[in-house]
Each structure stands twice: as C-alpha cells, then as structure tokens.
C-alpha cells in the first residue's frame, strides 16, 4: 500500500527545551493509528508540528512527507491547502474549539469554501448534508445557531463535520472524547469509525485511554518523553507489550476477566524535558534498567515484521514478561 504520511526524525524544541526528540511515523492510506502516552509525551505536538500549527517560537526539524511531498517548512499557501484539505484535525475540548461569535454555518461554510469548488446554494446544501452525516438533527435550522447553543457532544460532531468538509485523506483526532462523558464518548467514537470506513479515510487517534485506542485502531504507537518507544498492531501490543513502559501502561489496566489482582503502577514520574536523563529516558523508572541503559538512548528497532521497540533489553524484557505470565 502506498504511504500517505511519513514522518522522519521529527524534533521540536520550545525555547531550547526539546519536547519531541526524533519521532518516526509511517501511515498507510486508510489506516487507523493510535498514539498513546502520558500528558506531555509529545502525542499532540507531533501532529501540530507536522502541520505547522505550533507557535512561532517552537523549533521544528526533521521531515514530514505527504504522499512523498515535503510539507515541513512548506510555504504558507501550500500548508493552508494541506490543512483541512488533505489532513484535518479535531481537538480535545470541543467547547472552546469553535469560534464563539460566529454561527455554525459561517464556520462550516468557511471550510467548504476553502477546499471545495462549491458556489452559492451548493455550499449551504453541503453544510446541511455534513451536519446530517454527523447526526445533528434539524440541520437547516441549527446551521444558524452559535456554538454555545449546542452540547459538548454535539459540538464535537460539528467539529467532525467541519473536519470532513475538505474531504481529507487523514483525520487527526486529538483526544476527541476526553472532555465528554462516557456515553457520548462511545457515540463519537462510533461516528468516527463509521465515517472512516465509509470514506476510507486514514485516522490518527491520539489518546491516553488505552481502551479507546485498542478498539478503534489497527496499529498503536506508544510515546514516552518525546519519542516512540514501541509500535505494534493493536492486538499484539495489548496481548504482549515488549517495552517496559508499554508493559507498565498495560499492567496498570484492570483486567476484565481472570482473578482479581493488584493494579501495578509505574514508579516515579515523567522526566522534566529540561533535565532529560542521558540514555534511555525511561531508565530511571524501569525495573529492568541496567548500566548500559544510561549510556545512549536506544533507537526504535524492528523486532518482528510489523513491530518495533526502542529498548536495548527488548529481548530480555520480553522474556521477563513471559516469566511473569507463567507465575
């Protein structure tokens, strides 16, 4: 399958403090990739940087290709075409993600006018169709309403409609359900997966909710302290995590079946980006860490056809995991 997006060695620093320290991601057309990790691990920054949406004082380097074409540092006009037209993005807090003083119609039609060759009434008809598509009832009338007149779940639906306005090839959903309550959360995820399969659109689902990612993504990348530490097909990652951090994350989830066990927490906290440990960033919290871990940061290396891990003890940690499972 042809690659839609390939990110190579993407690095971001804010005021000299590195927050993204060499990220590589490859995404196929139509694929759903989950990006998990704690707050501050660089999940959102990766995609904001790729689309040139970070504030000006952010230093970004590396390469981001969209179907082979470099978009990092591309001219503003080209980026404006990519944003919304090829790659759309929806955000965590829907309530503040829409402009409070503009009607839904203006915000939706703005996106349509930018990316679709539509005129006059066709724009409004398409806006109505999009609202219908995302399940906003009485679309014709609701177009004239303002964001504050909708509930959180509805606003997120409108955000999705707006994201779809440009017929994008890729939708970046940045914690799309974190601010919503559980039932609405399920509805929004359901909507996203329906739309994705109907439109054959690729999706990156950024979340710290492992369950959400497991259900909705083909592949998962685990991020820690500005790097990807493990990447694997969803089912394999959850059944058999290799990186000690991924093991820790999954170990912290309560199992649905089997005997009750104590949930294990990962000791310590995420390192301060300004004072990163030399070597592996996870080493200070890692039960399996040994002297060589402190020397150099391990790079993401393949351990199977479709899996890669950034850990010099990938093999032994895999064995350790199996050992624990056998007990």
């Amino acid at each position: 399958m042809p690659q839609l997006v390939s990110i190579e060695d993407l690095r971001v620093a804010f005021n000299g403090v590195p927050v993204l320290r060499g990220v590589d991601i490859a995404l196929q057309k139509g694929e759903a990739l989950g990006l998990v990790g704690e707050s501050g691990s660089g999940k959102s920054v990766t995609w904001l940087a790729a689309l040139g949406l970070l504030p000006r004082h952010a230093r970004v380097s590396g390469s981001v290709r969209l179907e082979g074409r470099e978009i990092l540092g591309a001219p503003a006009a080209e980026l404006d075409h990519v944003r919304g037209g090829r790659v759309a993005m929806i955000f965590q807090d829907p309530a503040s993600a829409l402009n409070p003083v503009l009607t839904i119609r203006r915000q939706l039609c703005e996106a349509l006018a930018l990316h679709r060759d539509l005129q006059g009434n066709a724009v409004k008809a398409e806006a109505r169709r999009l609202l219908d598509l995302v399940g906003i009832p009485d679309a014709a009338r609701r177009l004239e309403a303002y964001p504050h007149e909708f509930s959180g779940g509805q606003v997120q639906r409108i955000m999705i409609a707006m994201a779809l306005a440009g017929n994008p090839d890729l939708l970046i959903a940045d914690e799309p359900t974190t601010a919503l309550d559980a039932t609405i959360q399920a509805q929004i995820l359901e909507l996203l997966s329906t739309i994705r399969s109907e439109l054959n659109m690729a999706m990156v689902l950024i979340s710290h909710d492992l369950g959400v990612v497991a259900e909705n993504c083909d592949r998962v990348a685990v991020m820690y302290a500005g790097r990807i530490v493990e990447e694997a097909p969803s089912n394999q990652l959850f059944a058999d995590p290799v990186h000690p951090y991924a093991q820790g994350l999954i170990g912290a989830l309560p199992p649905l079946d089997g005997p009750r066990r104590r949930l294990t927490a990962i000791p310590g906290t995420v390192p301060d980006p300004a004072h990163m440990p030399g070597g592996c960033a996870f080493a200070p919290r890692c039960a399996l860490a040994s002297d060589p871990c402190g020397l150099a940061a391990p790079s993401l290396a393949p351990i199977a056809d479709d899996r890669s891990v950034a850990c010099i003890r990938a093999e032994s940690s895999r064995r350790a995991l199996l050992g624990i499972a056998a007990e």
């Binding site: 993005m89 955000f91 829409l98 402009n99 003083v101 007149e149």
Partner: protein
C-alpha cells in the same frame, strides 16, 4: 432582552441619583458660597441676604428636596455669580470641549487599536517592545506633565505652536495631542492584551487547522472576539467626552466645560457644578448602556442569556 435592558436602565437612573446626591451634600458641606462669591470683606447683612435669596439658610434636606423638585420640572438652577441659568452656561461651553475631545477620541482609536493589534501579532518583536514602552510611558505620565512637556518643547523651545488660548485651530493641536497620547497608550495596551488572549484560544488553532490563511484568521476569527473587551474601554472613553479634559483645559486655558467646572467649584457656584456633574453622570451612564447593548451585539452568548433572563 427587554428585561436585560430594563434592569440596566433602572441601575443607570440609580447611579445618576447617587452621583447628584453625593455632589449636593459634599458641595454644601465644603464651604459657604456666599463667602466665596462675595468675599470675606462683605458686610454680614449682605451675606445674610445672599444666603436667604439662594435658600442657603434652609435645612440641607429641604434644599435637597427643592433641588430634586426643580430637576423634575426641568430646572437646573441659576449661577450664583451672574444669575444666568446654569444649563445655558454649561451648554455654551460644550462645543469648545468637544472640539478637543472628539478629535482626540478619533486619534486614540486610530493610533491605539492598530498599535495594539500589531504588537500582539508580533509579540516579542522590537516593535512590540517599542509600542509597549511608549504605552507604559503614555499610561503613567499624568496628563498635566505631558501637557507641560509639550508646551515646553513645541511652544517655548521651538515656537511652532501657541501655549494656550482658543484663537485658531493651531491652539487646539497641543491639547488634542495631550489627550490623544495618553488615551492611545491605554487603548494600545488593552487591545494588545485582548488580542493575545484571543490568539491563544483553541478556536484560533481550529481555524488554522482547517486551512484558513493567517490573515483571515486574524480578521474574521480573532478581531471579532478581541473587540468585546476593547469596547469596554472605548465606552469609558466616550463617557469622558464631556468632562474628560478638565486638566488639559486648565493647562491650556481652553474655555471648555472642564475650565467652567474648575472655576465653579472654586466659587462654590452650586447650580453650575451640579449641572455639570449631572451631565457627566448622564454621559457616563449612557455610554455604559451603549456598551451593554454592543456586548449583546458582539457576543451571541450574552444575547441568549439576555433573552432567557
């Protein structure tokens, strides 16, 4: 919406009554108009006759009710100095004051708002720092100091402009400049912080993320939101159009309402002072009402809240 405004109008009327009452009491407790106007040398029987003629012998509450009774009939009293109706004296000074404050208001807006927007869009740049330093200076230097500095430079040293009086349009330049600079500084600071606040909002990122060119993000997404706090300060400035030039008029010997107020206070010319204060309170309150109305127009969230209230 109707109730939203009914409440505000009621509050406005109460504000005016309070201002007028306060002025009435303070003026009557702070000196004897008869002594001020006739002078300490005046014979006691003249002073007594003066007090009797103006009702100054009555108990203060009786004077107060008489005063409100007269206002209700549309009478604002007469000047104790020349016996003319106070309102006439005040009205004939208003054009002179507006000749300073209206152009100054236009300059404040034309300088302050673009400077604030520009500084916010280029935050941290040399121009931003220059704008903010100028703004802080304009903000902290009192207008009489600025006025004196301008007089020193442009009238005394360079001799380009007159230092006071009202004989030609050239006489208006320095007073207008004094009023404009301070106001523009306040407005620039306000606009800049309103813009910075708005530019940091998630919906600005949303607009960029959907491919809206930056210029349009600023004009159609950021500015309408930043206008809401800016309107507050603009409303305040409109409220000071009538009596916002007291100091500047005094420094430049400009015969406007402000000068009249200073002279009338010094003389305890009660009716004139009260008439000016009533007018000032009314302009303030009216401009506040206009601001409230504009809020409803600019911010749909308030509109619906008003409709529900």
């Amino acid at each position: 919406m109707g109730r939203y405004f009914a409440i505000r109008i009621g509050r406005a009327a109460l504000t005016i009554v309070l201002v007028v009452t306060f002025a009435f009491v303070v003026l009557r407790l702070s000196g004897d108009p008869a002594l001020m106007i006739l002078g300490p040398e005046a014979p006691p029987e003249v002073l007594a006759a003066f007090r009797k003629a103006w009702g100054l012998d009555d108990p203060i509450w009786a004077q107060y009710f008489d005063y409100f009774g007269a206002i209700a009939k549309g009478e604002l009293g007469r000047s104790m100095r020349d016996g003319r109706p106070a309102i006439e004296l005040v009205l004939e000074r208003i054009p002179a004051t507006l000749a300073l404050t209206l152009p100054a208001f236009a300059f404040k807006v034309a300088l302050g708002i673009p400077a604030g927007i520009y500084a916010a869009l280029h935050r941290g740049s040399g121009i931003d720092r220059a704008v903010m330093m100028t703004a802080v200076a304009g903000f902290t230097v009192p207008s009489f100091v600025l006025a004196l500095v301008l007089v020193l430079v442009f009238a005394v040293q360079l001799g380009w402009l007159p230092s006071g009086g009202q004989d030609s349009w050239r006489h208006a330049i320095l007073p207008i400049a004094t009023l404009s600079l301070g106001g523009a500084a306040v407005l620039a600071r306000f606009t800049r912080s309103a813009m910075l606040e708005v530019l940091g909002q998630p919906y600005i990122r949303t607009a960029s993320a959907k491919g809206v060119p930056w210029r349009k993000v600023v004009t159609s997404h950021a500015l309408p939101n930043a206008a809401i706090p800016t309107v507050t300060i603009l409303g305040f400035m409109v409220g000071t159009l009538i009596a916002g030039a007291v100091v500047v008029e005094s420094v430049f010997a400009w015969p406007g309402v402000g000068r009249l107020l200073v002279v009338a206070v010094a003389n305890r010319d009660l009716a004139v002072v009260q008439c000016i204060l009533l007018l000032v309170a009314m302009t303030m309150v009216t401009s506040n009402l206009i601001v409230d109305f504009l809020y409803g127009f600019l911010d749909p969230r308030l509109r619906t809240k008003g409709a529900h209230a």
